[in-house]
């Protein structure tokens, strides 16, 4: 059962071959055993999951099932879950139990899905390796057979590792600069970052509000479509969410790709992209040609400015977003503060990890009097140029394709001492967040036994087209079905 997709499990449940309680028990058993190696979960909610599974079975018996009723999955521990600890991978929130659901959480609850727990992540989603979690690093299931402990990518590394290891068929994730696509690529799973505003951010703990976007992670494009069907839509509680009809993303999965115009941004096939990685990605693009797509080289002239702009804007927003963690109302508070200043400084010194502090400092600096124009305003100008690059590119092509990352999963600890090298992990993904457009990572091959991701980038609200392109590719390839040993 653990190898089945959400779509398949849904059919099994519908046929009555298995109940949700049985299915949930199987997944929980496997999860508790296998996750000792991976540490992909921060919290496993066994009791709640079984209660939800029981309710789902009753729901189905009453003839009120949705495609998700009784299907197990997991939430990244950045989505608030009413009554269940929501830590964001931080000591600061290790004891935080929200009395409310994120809109995404609520939507899955309403759909009848069974949440098995909360997945591990870089602290406050700041990282590309899931090593900065207060709850310990997550290990990529790929590489374990070679006796190596490799990173699953990040920040949604827990979700990616759990899906890759078949601990859950699907998991929610978030992406601020590549946090869905990079771990999906490194773990050989399929992930989608939707258009900014497509999925509500309410109850999703903020890192950088203008870049954060909740999204999907599963093994197949079809399952990503099933997830997005539940997640997408306007939310009156998030005034940056967009009031626009939500299509049935599964309805167009089987459209032929004949005539699809694919652009290859030349700036995304250079730099530190290894020859072996490039060969895998170009191989995947040849598959698209066989499916009837046409290929064209395009240019995103400001691509090289994306990382610099991102590392001003994201920390600037984060520096304000994380001010609420002050020890006054919830979360961690230092022992015996002697006065207000002492409470603030020690709570934050002790509650936040190194990378989070680094970004708060960078962001505070960028917003300071005398530096604001040179950093923040300049970065915003660059952001508009980058956005315009994509708008121009989509005048000639339907989608863009590139590698998701310059290299496959690296060994744990390899990049922790050098933040800039770590930041370069997102060199192909970051510009997409600055532009606010949707993009996917789809398994597209292996280098040295490690998964390689193909990034498919689309115009605003083209999620259906991206899922269609990914699904058609998955009909003629089996990279997404490979299982780590």
């Amino acid at each position: 059962m653990h190898n089945k997709s959400v779509a398949e499990l849904s059919r099994e449940l519908e046929s009555g071959k298995i109940s949700s309680v049985e299915l949930t028990r199987q997944f929980l058993g496997r999860l508790k055993k296998e996750d000792e190696q991976l540490n992909s979960f921060i919290t496993i909610t066994e009791e709640q999951a079984l209660a939800d599974a029981h309710a789902a079975d009753e729901q189905r018996a009453a003839g009120k099932a949705t495609p998700w009723t009784g299907v197990p999955f997991a939430h990244k521990d950045i989505f608030c879950t009413n009554g269940v600890a929501t830590t964001c991978g931080s000591k600061m929130l290790a004891n935080f139990v929200p009395p409310y659901d994120a809109t995404v959480t609520e939507n899955f609850r309403k759909a009848g899905a069974v949440c098995l727990g909360k997945t591990n992540m870089d602290e406050f989603a700041m990282g590309s390796s899931t090593e900065s979690s207060f709850f310990g690093a997550t290990t990529n299931p790929w590489g374990l057979s070679q006796g190596e402990k490799r990173v699953p990518g990040g920040s949604s590394g827990g979700s990616a590792a759990a899906v890759a290891a078949r601990l859950v068929p699907a998991a929610t994730a978030t992406d601020t600069g590549g946090s869905i696509r990079q771990p999906a690529a490194l773990c050989g799973v399929t992930g989608l970052k939707p258009t900014y505003g497509r999925v509500s951010r309410y109850g999703m703990i903020a890192f950088a509000s203008s870049l954060d976007q909740g999204g999907t992670m599963a093994r197949t494009a079809e399952d990503n479509a099933l997830m997005l069907n539940v997640m997408a839509g306007f939310d009156p509680k998030d005034s940056t969410s967009i009031d626009r009809d939500v299509p049935d993303y599964t309805a167009t999965l089987n459209e032929p790709l004949e005539g699809l115009r694919i652009g290859l941004p030349k700036e995304y096939f250079t730099g530190n992209l290894s020859a072996a990685m490039e060969e895998q990605v170009r191989g995947a693009i040849r598959e698209y040609e066989k499916l009837g797509a046409t290929i064209k080289e395009v240019s995103l002239p400001h691509a090289d400015l994306a990382i610099a702009a991102y590392y001003v804007i994201a920390p600037a927003e984060a520096s304000a977003n994380l001010s609420r963690f002050d020890g006054a109302r919830y979360g961690y508070r230092c022992e015996d503060p002697k006065d207000l200043l002492d409470m603030y400084t020690r709570t934050r010194a002790e509650g936040f990890g190194t990378e989070v502090k680094r970004r708060i400092l960078v962001g505070t600096y960028a917003l300071s009097a005398g530096y604001f124009d040179a950093y923040y305003l300049k970065a915003q100008k660059v952001r508009r140029l980058i956005q315009q690059d994509f708008i121009n590119a989509f005048k000639d092509v339907d989608v863009l394709m590139s590698p998701t990352t310059p290299s496959p999963a690296f060994i744990q600890g390899e990049k922790t001492s050098d933040p800039v090298t770590m930041y370069l992990e997102d060199v192909f993904t970051i510009a997409i967040n600055l532009a606010g457009i949707p993009a996917m990572s789809v398994p597209a091959g292996f280098v040295d036994g490690l998964p390689v991701g193909l990034q498919i980038i689309g115009d605003y609200f083209s999620e259906a087209r991206l899922l269609n392109a990914a699904h058609q590719f998955q009909q003629v390839t089996d990279w997404h079905q490979r299982e780590p040993q």
């Binding site: 929501t86 929200p98 009395p99 309410y202 940056t240 304000a320 109302r329």
Partner: protein, 483 residues
Amino acid sequence: MQWDIVIGLEIHVQLATKTKIFSGSSTAYGAEPNTQANAVDLAMPGTLPVPNEQAFRYAVMFGLAVNAEIERRSVFERKNYFYPDLPKGYQTTQLERPIVGPGYVDIDLANGETKRVRIHHAHLEEDAGKSLHEDFHGMTGIDLNRAGTPLIEVVTEPDMTNADEAVAFAKKLHGIVTSLGICDGDMSQGSMRFDVNISLKPKGSDTLGTRTETKNLNSFRFMEQAIAHEVERQMDILEDGGAIVQETRLYNGDRDESRSMRTKEEANDYRYFPCPDLLPVEIDDAFIDEAHNSLPELPDARKVRFKEQYGLNDYDAGLLAGDSQLAAFFEAAADRGKDAKLASNWVQGEFSARLNAEEKPVADSPISGEQLGDLVVRIADNTISSAGAKKVFEALWTGENDSVDAIIDAKGLKQVSDTGELEKMVDEVLASMPDQVAQYQQESDPKKQKKMLGGFMGPLMKASKGQGNPKLFNEILVKKLGG
């Protein structure tokens, strides 16, 4: 040395919306601490602000009322600083693109002239919570009921030159926002709070001096005192050859003292930047038109109407029209009483004096405009004397009875206006005071004669047990003595 005083004001006006500016919590005053603070107000992780349209409508109404430009696209920014009553660690406010642009208000000066005070801008923002320093044994309590209450902050140009002008402007603004119904105007509850920027410069100089800001003045009286206090403080320093430190000061009205809160050097770097959780606010013509059509009568227009409709003079009309509650009270009294001048005198006299003495707003008056109108009717038709009227007013105010006529009956205040009866009393009194009568009749100066009439009034009132109509007594006396 002679000095020019330069005063600019910043006024925080709490908007009377039912719910907060970015959450659905109630804004009602006086609830148990933290019972009107939801997850958004507490800045729980992942929560997001959702703008309250009514706050924007009120801000636009305010802008229109002060002849200002309405910005079609205004932007919320984050003002970053740490304080326990600021749950998010930043205040959501407007800086570069405020919703209300430049405008002006005309104020009436004591010398009868009108002065224009320019408004630099007004912006929307959220209020902070309150820190409670008492009752927590060395700790601080936090009440977040007020956190997120919508405010508009009105910033004037430094156009005022003395405390009278500043207070006149403040009262005018109070009248405008209460007339608009966008603020309850209750200053004792912090619904309007004034910050005063003051600087001095040598008389006639074009260069502004260094200014100080005195914060959070919550009554017109304190504002007047604080300005006087600060002007004197600055003048002393300057005349001793010292320099003014740019700083924020706190004024203690009870002690008439002020102290420095922080200097410019100690000021926070607030690191403003546009709030990424809120889209720019787009305001279209239809929204502005709708706000325009919903504007009630404002003090300036009301003053003109009071002069025309009630025949009031400029001063009375301005005073009564300036405060919407007082205006409504006056109109009720005048309409019921049928004598606007008399109603105006009573509203400005006995009624206002009583409110001031008890430090009550008009809304908390124990008597209604209609009741005062009933009283006016009985004064005008000579049923009671003005001395009797004061007794009736007192009984109304203390709640002894709420019917004017019932009080008059119960207290026996009805005047005797039967001329036959009154003439009889006059005859009797005159007969008993032959010397005074002779004296009166020998007097040639009518002014002195008039004064001498008073000598007969006492015995007459005594004879009538206080119920004789003094006006009629007077007429009869003049007729009989002069005969």
